[in-house]
Amino acid sequence: MMNVSLFKCHGLFLPFIKHCPYINISHVNRRCVISDMWMRRDFGTKASQQDSLDMSKFPVERIRNFSIIAHIDHGKSTLADRLLEMTGAIAKTANNKQVLDKLQVERERGITVKAQTASLFYHHEGQTYLLNLIDTPGHVDFSYEVSRSISACQGVLLIVDANQGIQAQTVANFYLAFEAQLTIIPVINKIDLKNADPERVEKQIEKVFDIPQEECIRISAKLGTNVDQVLQAVVKRIPPPSAGVDEAFKALVFDSTFDHYRGVVASVALFGGRVSRGDKIISAHLGKTYEVNELGILRPDEHPTETLYAGQVGYVIAGMKEVKEAQVGDTLYLQKQPVEALPGFKPAKAMVFAGMYPVDQSEYSGLHSAVEKLTLNDSSVSVQRDSSIALGAGWRLGFLGLLHMEVFNQRLEQEYNASVIITAPTVPYKAVLSSAKLIKEHGTETITIINPTQFPERSQVTEYLEPMVMGTIIAPDDFTGKIMSLCQNRRGVQKNMFYIDDHRLIMKYIFPLNEIVVDFYDELKSMSSGYASFDYEDAGYESAELIKIDFLLNGRPVEELTTIVHKERAYSAGKAMCERLKESIPRQMFEIAIQAAVGSKIIARETIKAYRKNVLAKCYGGDITRKMKLLKKQAEGKKKMRRIGNIDVPKEAFINVLKRK
């Protein structure tokens, strides 16, 4: 109840903020304009009614738990908005746009990063059903979020754009749902568009997913056309969760957020039994006991209830102080009724690593706390302290993919007003050690190399391994030739290729992750005029001829520039880096040789010629103030430069070279 009173005195909707504690106030204000309209209705007129919500009214057979999965921009969030409106969760206005996407980055990029849950009350054939919509991120980088969400569901709505048809992420998301043995309801969206061709899309769906055309529902989420059919299908086709209210309480934590005031807010799906306020519960992972302080359903804001029952989805606050205490995938059960833990999830695996440093070292501690707060709600980011002589103290962060990295960076900037230097991303290589001494040192035979400077020498390893991905490309066949040569250039190996309709192809390639991590998608997009879509999934590790390139300035190695590349790439990578260094290091009084070296062999070289003249012509009219200022600035700058041998390298040079372009 504290929430409500706070809410009233500020005129802001506080539970909403609490749900997203990482949003700073300015964003909240902006967003409240959007949220206010429906929140007010919910809270103002129905508050008392909602507070006494009796969830026992919803037995398992009248519960449906489902997700919406789709390729980016196929209209997932718009459909969610409509579903919320039609079931009265939010008022029907023209302003409901991406209601579930609360983060600024989500709204700006039109993507969903963080899964959200909304419980909908749907009246169907004289009965009220509880439909739990678990919104999921669309992008491959966030597919672990998708799989988490899916685990709490029995069915999914697979949205496909009636114009674009099946795209790479449609395929990836389909398989996630398919493997989880969920009911899949194909929904063809945007039928109102001029170029919509739902029939073609239905054929694609039948061909690729083996789902009969008749099962597709054609809708326009934007206009609301046929959306009621979707709701009916959810009730009719998706089975209720198989959970008994008389069983022991058992809940899966499928998401968690951190609230500064109340601690961890865990999103849970009840696989059995019931749980009430005041119950003593245990988290299977840590075995710690907590008392349930608050629980309820999300509509999508928090609505406290007394009890949650089997099959239902909601939130639980139980005095957990750290996100670690409510690990995603963990099982909660009653202290007095121990149960076997649910299978849980594989932890999210970082696929891309990058160094992150404050632009100014004085901002380190501020940035540190921002990173900490952000990772509280995004446990998929791995954080390791790191330091570079040039860039100072920072971190080596592991991300699920490039978009994930960009989103993280953007959130730091937008939500914490932090400015950071992100270095070029690298992938986690592995080395199988042969040297007994090293094996002993590391305590293991296979080591993961996150930092290139720790790359063990060839003589000490049996083999190097690089992470691979299975890439899915869907594109019109006009671009097949171009795409194939692009893939070949990226060391891709074709695994499969077939038509999904008259002129669209699906291509499957095994790629080294490193080859696609930086600019592959951009290149693919531009060569296909934006028609190709791409997605990838982890495909383990493969043996690879990897080598370490060192960069030398006048013969002295510069540690932070050390790079690991595939042997085939050594010359081009070495040359490119030398060129960038040449552009970034100012001329000095002597010649500077920039070299790329593999072992003792120099593979690329650039020269920065010595200054032959550097002196100002004239100090006019006795005005030396300006000149003095300039010189003193240079002297100050010199202090901050990294000195390698006799060469002064400004920090900006490292930033330019290391930064992603």
Binding site: R587, Q588, M589, F590, K609, Y611, R612, K613, N614, V615, L616, A617, K618, C619, Y620, G621, G622, D623, I624, T625, K627, M628, L631, K632, Q634, A635, G637, K638, K639, N646
Partner: protein
């Protein structure tokens, strides 16, 4: 009245400061030198030009009308005020710069010089230089300027190539330049300097060398060489940025500089400063004064000065700047006797920095004796002798430290701006190690805007 109060307050403060820092320090660190304390040079700025040159970002104004009488009065008044303020009793040289000071009436020059002599001693052979724009009109008034007291001309011929002169937006051609130089030489034999620019748009090393040779046939005993610098906001800068013109690159300019040094040397000129060459010891006394960090008074809009305001109890040198805009400057001079807009006190460290930055521009560098005048507490060996960074410069043959003093080698002079930051850091390090630099916190950055608003 307020102003006086402020001066008194300042006097009081500086006394307090002295006790704060400790008498010993102040006595040993002579920022307010007794040597030549009453001597300075005088710079007079004439801010007007007839037209705007395409490369110039200077403090100059193209006037619709100008009142010579008012300017004359104000220049005189400010000269008087600042001479009194500084208690300078001897003026070693006078330099009329601009703008285009040859557009001033000879009577204005005469009036200013008269004021100077009235309030300070000016020896009969003191150098009095006037910058001249080599137009027919400029040439015509040279004689009158000599009658007014000018005894040295600095002629901005810039180039002897008419295409270049057009690109630069000059209002003279090479013929005018030659005529003006010859007239000036006749009037002031041995005391005529020419300014020429290199690294001009479209200029080749060959054409530059040819031009220099042509110049050597007509010039007197002093040549100043300037590399064209593209200043933001100028027309030329935009033209180059848009690709309409292209200037020689760094290396091209370096070759031009080097070849000019050689050509001039072969012609019997001694390079005595980065940009200045002389024969028969016809150096610019006035400019040498700047490079030896002597005091100077700046009069006129936007003029800079460096002197100790002794009349108000000042004991530290100040870097002073006059109001930039002529109209504003005139108003201020009329209302309070001078148009000083900015005063920054130079502390010991700041002064030593200037001594070094200016001194090293000369081929003779800074002598041990000269340095001692400003830094009695530590000689050049003590400050620069130990450091590895300096050793590197010495080893590379760019810099020389010996009993004579500190100076650049021939190669080093061309790289001075790369050398200076290292020296400035060493100086700072040294002063910090002696705890002298602490004085900076107390004294400097007292940037006072004098005007009441």
């Amino acid at each position: 009245m307020k102003l006086i109060c402020r001066y008194l307050l300042k006097q009081h403060l500086s006394r307090c400061k002295r006790t704060l820092i400790g008498d010993i320090l102040v006595r040993s660190v002579a920022t307010f030198l007794p040597t030549h304390a009453d001597e300075a040079s005088l710079y007079v700025h004439w801010p007007y030009c007839l037209k705007r040159c395409s490369y110039c970002n200077f403090n100059k104004y193209i006037p619709r009308s100008q009142n010579h009488n008012v300017m004359t009065e104000c220049l005189q008044k400010e000269t008087r005020t600042l001479l009194k303020l500084s208690q300078i009793s001897r003026i070693s040289s006078v330099f009329f710069g601009g703008g285009t000071p040859s557009l001033a009436q000879p009577s204005t020059i005469a009036a200013v010089l008269e004021t100077v002599s009235k309030h300070a001693h000016v020896s009969g052979d003191a150098e009095v230089t006037l910058e001249v724009n080599p137009t027919p009109a400029g040439k015509a008034s040279l004689r009158d300027f000599t009658l007014a007291g000018v005894n040295r001309f600095s002629i901005g011929i810039q180039s002897l190539n008419d295409d270049h002169l057009r690109t630069l937006g000059r209002d003279h051609n090479s013929q005018h330049a030659l005529q003006t130089v010859s007239e000036a030489r006749m009037l002031c034999p041995g005391r005529v300097s020419v300014d020429v620019m290199f690294a001009l748009p479209g200029q080749s090393v060959k054409s530059w060398e040819d031009e220099l040779k042509k110049l050597l046939q007509v010039c007197d005993d002093h040549v100043s060489l300037y590399q064209l610098t593209l200043e933001r906001g100028t027309r030329l800068f935009k033209q180059v940025e848009r690709g309409e013109l292209s200037v020689p690159g760094d290396d091209g300019a370096a070759v031009m500089y080097k070849s000019a040094r050689k050509v001039l040397e072969q012609a019997g000129f001694l390079q005595y400063e980065v940009s200045n060459f002389s024969k028969n010891n016809a150096v610019s006394q006035h400019n040498v004064g700047y490079w030896r960090a002597q005091q100077y008074i700046g009069v006129g809009p936007g003029a800079h000065g460096r002197f100790v305001p002794r009349a108000v109890g000042g004991d530290q040198r100040e870097a002073r700047t006059q109001a930039l805009e002529p109209d504003v400057w005139i108003r201020e001079v009329q209302s309070q006797g001078h148009g000083t807009r900015r005063r920054i006190q130079l502390d010991h460290h700041g002064l030593l920095e200037e001594v070094m930055v200016m001194g090293l521009r000369m081929n003779e560098g800074i002598s041990q004796q000269q340095w001692k005048l400003f830094s009695p507490e530590a000689d050049l060996y003590q400050i620069f002798g130990m450091s590895d960074n300096i050793q590197e410069l010495l080893a590379e043959g760019l810099l020389i430290v010996d009993d004579r003093g500190l100076r650049c080698s021939w190669e080093g002079l061309a790289l001075l701006d790369s050398i200076l930051p290292t020296l400035l850091l060493e100086l700072e390090k040294f002063l910090q190690s002696r705890c002298i630099i602490k004085t900076r916190i107390n004294n400097s950055k007292t940037d006072m805007i004098q005007r009441d608003r």
